[in-house]
C-alpha cells in the first residue's frame, strides 16, 4: 500500500480531523486537529493496512509570534509497509495541551516528557509527566523562542 492510499484512508475515516496534506522533498505531512490525535494515532497504529507500529520521534515546535503558537510533531514509521508519515497538531500559546499517545506507543513516554520539559506542552493522560532533562525546580521552558539563549 502506498502513502497516497493511506492518506485517503485516514481522510475517509477521520474527515473532520485532517485539515491539510502537504508534501515536501518526498515527505508527507498531515496537519491534524489536536483534539483527535489519540483516536487518529490509535487507528494508524492498529489498522492492519496503515500499521504504523513505530513512533520514531515526537517533538515540540514554537512558532512564536504566530498563533496557534505550538506544534507537536509526530514522526511515524511502519516496519510492514516501510513508509514514513509525519503528523502535526497545533496548540494555542495560552494553554498548550494535547492527549498523550503513551497508550498507543510506549516510546512516547520520554519523548512527551522532553516536549513538556522544553516547551511546557501538557500531555494529558501521560502516566508520569515531569521534567526529564532539567531539574524539577527549573523555571521556564528553554526551547521556547522567548527564552533567552543565555539562561
Amino acid at each position: 500500500m502506498d502513502l497516497a492510499t493511506i492518506v485517503d484512508r485516514v481522510k475517509q475515516k477521520f474527515p473532520e480531523s485532517v485539515s491539510e496534506v502537504s508534501a515536501f522533498r518526498g515527505e508527507t505531512t498531515l496537519r491534524v486537529r489536536s483534539e483527535d490525535i489519540l483516536p487518529l494515532c490509535r487507528f494508524l497504529h492498529d489498522d492492519p493496512e496503515t500499521a504504523f507500529d513505530f513512533l520514531i520521534d515526537l517533538c515540540g515546535v514554537d512558532d512564536l509570534p504566530r498563533e496557534p503558537r505550538f506544534q507537536v510533531v509526530y514522526h511515524l514509521a511502519s516496519t510492514k509497509t516501510r513508509l514514513r508519515l509525519r503528523l502535526k497538531a497545533s496548540l494555542p500559546g495560552a494553554r498548550p495541551q494535547i492527549a498523550s499517545v503513551f497508550s498507543v506507543w510506549k516510546a512516547a513516554d520520554w519523548l512527551e516528557r522532553e516536549a513538556f520539559d522544553m516547551f511546557g506542552i501538557i500531555f494529558a493522560g501521560h502516566p508520569d509527566l515531569r521534567r526529564i532533562l532539567l531539574t524539577p525546580e527549573w523555571q521556564g521552558y528553554p526551547l521556547r523562542k522567548d527564552y533567552p539563549l543565555r539562561g
Binding site: F24, R25, I56, R82
Partner: protein, 390 residues
C-alpha cells in the same frame, strides 16, 4: 527507605557502569529490583537551542558532540538532512567515502561498547583487545581529518577534503586483518560460561515490546526484528553493497552481544567493498551558493577568499520547509528534523537520539531482576549520555 520492605539505592551518576552520568534510582526488595527510575540530564547542554542560533555549516561541529564515540555518523545524518532540505546531492565519490568512514565508525563504536560492556560484567581482557583495533580506526580518521573523535569531516554537499595519499591501502590492510580479531574477541566471550550465565535470559524485550518502545539498531534486531535503515530505506548508495542484517532470537543481553559482533564483520565487509569500488571524481557538489570553494583556490584568489568568508560568516539561506533525514547509526536510528523559515539558521533543530529512546525501555528490562543484571542491561543498551542528554 521506600515501602516497609524495600530499600532505595542510588546508582550513579558517578558509578562506572552507568557509562557516563546516568543515575538510576533503584527500589530493591533484597537483591531484586522492584522499580528502576532512570534520572538523566546531567550532561544537558541545550544543544538544540544552541543550533537555532548558528548557521547550517556551523551546526556540524555541534553534532560531533552528540554521540562522541561515533562522530562520523552524527555528521552524516546532519549533512544528509541539510542536503535534503536544499535538494542537493553529494557526488558519488563523496557518498562512497561517507559509507566507508561510517562503517569504520560503526566498528569502532561497537568495539568501544564491547570493551566497556565486557569490563562491566567482569571480563577485563576484551577491553584491551577492543581498544587496540579501535585505535587503528581512530588513527585512520586522524589521517583523514586530523581528529580522532570530533571529525566534522562531512560537509553540506560532500567532504571537507579528499582522502589522503595511500589511505585506501591502509583501509585494505585493516579490513584484511579485522575478521581474525573478531574471532579473538569471540574466543574470550561467546562460549565463555560466566559470560553466558550473566547475559542469557537477562533484560529480555520481545519483538512487539521493542517496536512499541521505539527501540532501533542492534537492540531492536536482537529481538528478532529485521529492521535496518541501510536496507529498509537506503541512503548514500547502501543498496550497491552486499551485506547481511544480523538478527537475534531472544532479545536478551547475550543476543545484543551476538548481533553487534556479527555487525562488525558485516561493516568490515562493506568497508572492503567500498574501497574496491571507490569511484573517482569530485568530492563536493557543484553549488557555489552553499559549498565552500576549494582551499587552494582560497589561498590564491581574492574572489574565492571573499566567497569563503561570506559562506563562513553569513552562511546560506535554506528554502522554507521541513525535512527529516535519518541514518542507521551504530546505536540505532539517528535522525535530524530541521524546520527552515527561509533564513540562514534553522528555525527548529531537532535530534532524534537513538540512545535516549533506547534507554527509555530500561525499567521494563530490569524490573523483577537482580541488581547485578542492571549493570549488564545498561551496558547492553549501548548508551552515550552526551546523546541522551544533548
Amino acid at each position: 527507605m521506600g515501602d516497609n520492605n524495600t530499600m532505595i539505592l542510588n546508582m550513579g551518576p558517578q558509578h562506572p557502569s552507568t557509562h557516563g552520568v546516568l543515575r538510576v534510582v533503584l527500589e530493591l526488595d533484597g537483591e531484586v529490583v522492584v522499580k528502576a527510575t532512570p534520572d538523566i540530564g546531567f550532561l544537558h547542554r541545550g544543544l538544540e537551542k544552541l543550533a537555532e542560533h548558528k548557521t547550517y555549516h556551523q551546526c556540524i561541529p555541534l553534532t560531533d558532540r552528540l554521540d562522541y564515540v561515533a562522530g562520523m555518523s552524527n555528521n552524516l545524518a546532519y549533512v544528509l538532512a541539510v542536503e535534503k532540505l536544499l535538494g542537493l546531492e553529494a557526488p558519488p565519490r563523496a557518498q562512497a567515502v561517507r559509507v566507508l568512514l561510517s562503517e569504520l565508525q560503526r566498528i569502532s563504536s561497537h568495539l568501544f561498547w564491547l570493551g566497556t560492556h565486557a569490563h562491566d560484567i567482569g571480563a577485563m581482557t576484551p577491553l584491551f583487545y577492543a581498544m587496540r583495533e579501535r585505535d587503528e580506526i581512530l588513527f585512520l580518521f586522524e589521517r583523514v581529518c586530523g581528529s580522532r573523535l570530533t571529525p566534522s569531516y562531512f560537509r553540506v554537499g560532500g567532504l571537507a577534503q579528499d582522502l589522503p595519499e595511500g589511505f585506501e591501502e591502509k583501509c585494505r590492510e585493516f579490513t584484511r586483518t579485522f575478521n581474525a580479531h573478531v574471532d579473538e574477541y569471540e574466543t574470550l566471550l561467546t562460549r565463555n560460561k560466566i559470560w553466558m550465565k550473566r547475559t542469557q535470559g537477562v533484560g529480555i524485550l520481545s519483538a512487539e515490546e521493542a517496536i512499541n518502545w521505539g527501540q532501533t539498531g542492534p537492540n531492536l534486531r536482537a529481538s528478532n526484528v529485521n529492521w535496518d535503515l541501510r536496507k529498509a530505506m537506503p541512503y548514500c548508495g547502501y543498496e550497491n553493497y552486499e551485506f547481511l542484517v544480523p538478527t537475534g532470537k531472544n532479545g536478551d543481553v547475550y543476543d545484543r552481544y551476538l548481533v553487534r559482533m556479527m555487525e562488525m564483520r558485516q561493516s568490515n565487509e562493506i568497508a572492503r567493498q567500498v574501497v574496491d569500488k571507490m569511484p573517482g571524481g569530485a568530492i563536493l557538489a557543484d553549488d557555489p551558493k552553499v559549498v565552500y570553494p576549494p582551499k587552494d583556490k582560497v589561498q590564491e584568489s581574492i574572489e574565492a577568499l571573499i566567497h569563503h568568508f561570506h559562506l563562513a560568516s553569513a552562511g546560506f539561506p535554506a528554502p522554507p520547509g521541513e525535512v527529516y533525514a535519518s541514518i542507521e547509526s551504530p546505536k540505532g536510528e539517528l535522525g535530524f528534523y530541521l524546520i527552515s523559515d527561509g533564513t540562514n539558521k534553522p528555525w527548529r533543530f531537532r535530534v532524534r537520539p537513538p540512545s535516549f529512546v533506547n534507554l527509555s525501555a530500561l525499567s521494563t528490562m530490569v524490573e523483577g531482576r537482580l541488581i547485578s543484571d542492571v549493570v549488564a542491561v545498561i551496558g547492553s543498551i549501548d548508551i552515550v549520555l552526551a546523546e541522551v542528554d544533548r
